[in-house]
Amino acid sequence: MTCLNAETHSMLDHSVDQFTESEYRFEQRQHIQLQHQGQAPKHWQHFADMGWLGIAFAEEQGGLGGDIADTLGLMRRFGRALVTEPYVVVVGLAGQLIAGGSNETLSETLLPGIICGERRVILAGNEADARGNPYCIGVLAEADDSGYRLSGEKTEVLFARGASELVVSTRSSGSWCSPEGIDLFVLPLDTPGVTVTEYPMMDGHRGANVSFDGVTVDASRRLTAAGAAGPLLARVQQGATLMLVAEALGIMETLLDKTLAYTRARKQFGVALAEFQVLQHRMADMYIELTNTENLFRQTVARVDTSQGDAGARISRLKARMGLAGRYIGQQAIQLHGGIGMTDELDIGHYFKRLTALDILMGGTEFHIKQIWQQSLAGPAAV
């Protein structure tokens, strides 16, 4: 369900299209990759000026009063242009966790800066053996007199460069993958004991290992009641997953369009590739995969309320479907482009790599199918 009206959506879509058409053509994107590691300072400021950073925050907090569903048009357009700015991480993950927590002081302090583009807060959630499960947390938060001591390591933390703070998911009690006993803390990246080691990821985004060694943090930096952050984490994760699927749809429809155009233009054996029946059927199959995913996406968005946290099974189904469709469409796009599809110079391979990354982020297809399976064993009402 979206909160903003149709006119606002129309304006948002239009403004994003304008941005991507003038500032984010493929050559420009490649330039940003080389010169700015994928994050151009002027772009983030533009996002703030256009109000995009505030779409999913309440008006009292300085936002537009919409929710995650209202960002999906923008996300799809970002997918079409392969935008590598940290929108999902800052707005969809860290920002939503801060806004959705019970720590009003923190949200009053941090949100205005996030929305106006001055402050970038990221999420350190993933760990080496979590395999997509946000509850599998080994980073410990041990309470002592002054607050908490954090220890452990997070992996594939995205967009640490240029970020001022991070939200970290920690475990204060309970077993490794228990939904209870989880705490979220916000702390500056330059806190003593926090070490960041960056590296490039396959899709052009930048990741990092963030280790916590004797890091002390005050209880006032905790986002929820003690040990009770599990439900908030799950809810926000679900919303962010929708954003990733929207991005993936933008990529998939672009790949199909480009593949159609290429096979119509490229000639071998005296005819256009698009004349060969096998390739026609292949593209028809790509279209079917895309349409199925699109339909499930619309249905899911219509039925899910991202302010609640009960959409797990629906979101898992959508994510699994997206993963399968993405693998097929990405794979075929490369295959049908032949040799040049393999070159770094052409955009196809870059779309394909990002699509693969989107499958893995927030749990891959196998993870979500298992989730669906477990839920279906719990009974029909659960699904």
Binding site: Q268, G270, M342, T356, I360
Partner: protein, 392 residues
């Protein structure tokens, strides 16, 4: 003791004496491979010695005739040599498109003069070769190539562009398919020519892939002079030679489906990544997919073996190279997809110190090219349908 037995004894003794210790281990990386050529810098004195000694015996090309520098070995002797080398884990002294591709073509189709000119330097690893076949407009439809060779009496002037030439920027000579007659059916106007990469007008540019750096290059030919005596076989009759070489190339690429000796198998990777519960992989969904893959993998290995055995016994069907290439490359791609699934987000790390499985996303991205290079999977299926099933 038979002749073969004494050959084995002698070979074993010679290897023991002449193969340097550091050459008695598998390659740890691509950097260890010796390609030879005019511009080659040896990694070590041992690498140079090993090449020199094997080349002296002609054992870089063991089954080539001795009059061209080859080893002159029979099939059985060649097999024994390979077994004895494997026994001490002796690495091949030379990787060479000269030995694998243009050499066999010259032996079968080349003039005596060309054989004398080119084969001995190939054997000695002095000249490094590259292949100029595909063009931007001629990929699957290779016969549609347009690089033009104009007849100027005692030589040709060649203009055009080649693409996907492996190691062109490091090679000394090229064997290329050019159009010598634009007025006949396309397959009937093609010649296979040889020229030095130092010839004026030859330039190269490397191609970066989605998997990162690659050996592929674009090669530009601007008014390049090629001598008439450097045509392999006859003018306008190069297409049949090309087909002969393409079948060979297919088998080389198809073999990527196999796990090289010393490499971890997919189930081994899975056991490390997922752990075992009661002796079975802890993730039932991935276990099912890996079990299915493992069945296909052994079926492929057995088929490669059976095709070889049948060929030796004089049985078997032609065009199995198309089937092996198709099955092998699709198998390899599935393997890499499963590796990504096994390592999850860790598999997305492009570069990083201390990460235990280096190069995963690069290898995965590179594997997508397997079903494209050397004839796409779609082309292989066309070949099977047409030549074996008699359709179309």
């Amino acid at each position: 003791m038979t002749d073969l037995d004494s050959f084995r004894e002698q070979t074993r003794a010679w290897l023991e004496e002449n193969c340097p210790q550091s050459m008695r281990s598998p390659f740890r990386s691509d950097k260890d491979v010796c390609w030879g050529g005019r511009r080659w810098t040896f990694q070590s004195e041992d690498q140079r010695l090993w090449l020199e000694r094997m080349a002296d015996k002609g054992w870089t090309a063991p089954d080539w005739p001795t009059e061209y520098g080859g080893g002159g070995l029979s099939r059985e002797e060649h097999k024994i040599l390979l077994e004895e080398m494997a026994r001490i884990q002796a690495r091949p002294p030379l990787n060479s498109f000269g030995i694998w591709m243009i050499g066999p073509a010259l032996l079968k189709f080349g003039s005596e003069a060309l054989k004398q000119q080119h084969l001995p330097p190939i054997v000695r690893g002095e000249i490094r070769w590259c292949q100029g076949y595909s063009e931007p407009g001629a990929g699957s439809d290779l016969a549609g190539l347009q690089t033009r060779a104009e007849d100027k009496g005692d030589h040709f002037i060649v203009n055009g562009q080649k693409i996907w030439t492996s190691y062109a920027d490091k090679s000394d000579w090229m064997f290329a398919l050019v159009r010598t007659n634009p007025d006949v059916k396309k397959q009937e106007g093609i010649s296979l020519v040889l020229f030095d990469m130092e010839t004026p007008g030859v330039s190269t540019r490397p191609i970066k892939l989605i998997s990162g750096q690659s050996p592929f290059c674009e090669t530009f030919l601007d008014d390049v002079r090629v001598e008439k005596d450097q045509v392999v076989g006859e003018v306008d009759k190069g297409w049949s030679i090309a087909k002969y070489l393409l079948t060979h190339e297919r088998s080389m690429i198809g073999n990527m489906g196999s796990t090289a000796a010393g490499q971890k198998t997919l189930p081994q990777h899975a056991a490390e990544a997922l752990g075992l519960e009661h002796g079975k992989l802890a993730d039932p969904m991935l276990r099912a997919e890996i079990a299915d893959w493992a069945v296909e993998a052994q079926a492929y290995e057995l088929t490669a073996e059976r095709v070889r055995d049948q060929a030796k016994a004089g049985q078997g069907v032609g065009n199995t190279s198309a089937m092996l290439k198709y099955a092998g490359t699709e198998l390899n791609k599935r393997r890499h997809e499963l590796m990504i699934a096994l390592y999850g987000s860790d598999a997305m790390i492009w570069e990083g110190e201390g990460w235990r499985e280096q190069g995963l996303p690069q290898q995965w991205a590179r594997s997508k090219g397997n079903s494209i290079e050397g004839g796409t999977s779609e082309i292989q299926l066309n070949i099977i349908a047409k030549n074996i099933l008699g359709l179309g």
